[in-house]
Symmetry: C2
Subunit: 450 residues, 2 copies
Amino acid sequence: MLRKLLIPIVLGVLSVSPALADKVTTFTLPNGLEAVVIEDHRAPVVTHMMWYKIGSADEPRGKSGIAHFLEHLMFKGTKTVAPGAFSATVEAQGGDDNAFTYYDYTAYFQRVATDRLDLMMTMEADRMRGLILSEDNVTTERAVIIEERAQRTDSDPSALFGEQRRAAQYLNHPYGTPVIGWKHEAEALTREDALSFYRTYYAPNNAVLVVAGDVNPDEVRAMAEAHYGPIAPTPGLGERHRVTEPPQLAERRLAMTDPRVAQPYVIRSYLAPERNAGAQEKAAALTVLAELLGGNSTTSLLARALQFGDAPKAIYTSAYYDGLSLDISDFGFVAIPTPDTSLADLEAAVDGVLADFLKNGVDQTAFDRIKRQLRADEIYARDNVDGLARDYGSALTSGLTVADVQAWPDILQAVTPEDVLQAARDVLNRNNAVTGWLERPDAPKVEVTQ
Amino acid sequence: MLRKLLIPIVLGVLSVSPALADKVTTFTLPNGLEAVVIEDHRAPVVTHMMWYKIGSADEPRGKSGIAHFLEHLMFKGTKTVAPGAFSATVEAQGGDDNAFTYYDYTAYFQRVATDRLDLMMTMEADRMRGLILSEDNVTTERAVIIEERAQRTDSDPSALFGEQRRAAQYLNHPYGTPVIGWKHEAEALTREDALSFYRTYYAPNNAVLVVAGDVNPDEVRAMAEAHYGPIAPTPGLGERHRVTEPPQLAERRLAMTDPRVAQPYVIRSYLAPERNAGAQEKAAALTVLAELLGGNSTTSLLARALQFGDAPKAIYTSAYYDGLSLDISDFGFVAIPTPDTSLADLEAAVDGVLADFLKNGVDQTAFDRIKRQLRADEIYARDNVDGLARDYGSALTSGLTVADVQAWPDILQAVTPEDVLQAARDVLNRNNAVTGWLERPDAPKVEVTQ
């Protein structure tokens, strides 16, 4: 079982949502279930995804990790499906399945031959309300998620550092709590915690069905009505509201040392606006800004200045931004020093690049290149129907609409150099920032040559 | 009206709880109301306090400030007492009254001639369950608390800085949220928020009555039974449980600049254990440690090294610790530089003093002097019956018992130099620390002379 916990991206690749309006159909069932059908008839396969508008940032205080824990427990069976039989059935049908949890959503998906879609809907509808949890199942699976945390986080200084940095980034908002949960809280999660969360939030009026592949929208709708239509919604489920940040008035700085550190680095994150329905322009400008400063290119500003100049200070640089978030997001950079560069020197050098950029503005050649690349990414993305399904599912559970997803490529293309510069001026506010240094404790003292 | 919001002590005076076992009587009513009677017959006056085991750290997420807001609203009247009439009545009787809110408790008190005690209990019992709130009252008083915040916090860079530092100190625990509330949340508090909080937590089984002064315990008990006895408890009110901290793995550092800063300073706080029922020894050792390092004396280690040496670097130094807390507390120091000392130099100098202390251990002469001073403080404190009442009320709403309060002076006296050194080794862990610099933006660059 490869169920995955999405880890906040710090070294990530830019994800671009494509416009594919002509092959996307939507409908909503009377019980509130939203559905998106993406047609792709190149091969007789289909991806069936159920996205719930519930993530770790919706957890009750002190119950961190319950969204992810419940994701695991969703494979523990119902009246008609034995524990573990869900994935075994998918596999026996020649398919594969998986699930993932993030701050704003939890999703389950199966990829199967098209003629198995009905079976997938049967099983997914069955576990939307029919989950049966024994105390034994809960005890066993809790050990599994604690082990998952041990592997992914507790044994990885960079992951631990990420948790500490995010906790410092958010003074109030639950995005400061790790998706997998603080260890001491995850260890104390109970069957009742999971069932309470499940009963409230796993409901057709809190879910988005995405079906992508070799399907006919009318047939998908009929099938969805048959399987999901009879499921009662959770009454009184209001808007999602999380607490918001107070003004941040001072940069937070963290330095962590750990003997297990493979590569030291400096990382800084700034609070940044997210993509909002009907208002994605700032997020688009920040997306281009991240590419200009530190995209996957040897020609980014940071790479040229710090990696490929006369006296390289970095062996890796990157800028990152992911605007897909229900609430506030962050913009940041990361840089790994050359062996003879201190993190202090490297940070100062990055700040020099940022200052030069704010002073000199956008290089038109680089800007045009990035625009072309973004357009190409969009076109290539159309070939990946699973990626499209994820784009729609994550967007619709993060406060966006199908129209927003489809408008995004054109909004990206409409960004001007002035937009990018203004976005940089707005977001590069040190008061909203957390700067982190991760090093080995035996980091040698560096002689700085003048 | 002088209702006060307790502000976290950073430049505070050490508070010592006295033993006065011979004049303290306790009882508990069948409805759960705990009571403490402290006799002091020197003058025909009495202090009547009602302490609720509910403070800002018990607030629902996103409703910060509701405990303090409700404290204000408690003066808005009942069926028998008109809005504002509570304090007017106390004043007309020649007394005064007040209230205060902190992380772990909310308290109301009146100081009156002894023969008015019955009237005070009548009115306090009346508003424990009988509060009537109009929307107008709520709207008006919300403007008052926002103005209070504007005066105390938003116009004071040191107070704002304190909020940012506390938010960085606690990665999970609600002690990171300001007692007065984040402004944007306090502005949104409603009548229903206040009433919901009130109905649940203002109850005899969540309160401690403290009566101190020229009273007879039997008479106080009879009077309390008459006035408070008939009040129904809140059913199902369980133990107070707050979320706890995950491991803190990296010091957080904050530097804030503000043109309104009168005195720059460096401040560092470390997470520290609190006084626990039956286990106050570590807190006692930290109390002595704070005195040794930076107590109110020109002979503290920090003062001697940084203020009164050959080349003074500080015009003020202090170490602080307050063990009276339901959950985890903090230990810290603050230092204000001389005009020609940078905060970096000052911080390094403080760290030098701490390192020397850890290496050289406790100076026996200073240790003996502090022990004598703590004993003297205790004896003087007996003369302040209001202070005694506060000691018992705050202790009993912070997880301690009457026996703990009475044992505290002897536990302080039993602290050994080895205890202090061990406490210092345990608590001075930079991973658990937040270090803050507060400066004016025009702070001149300092030439450091070698």
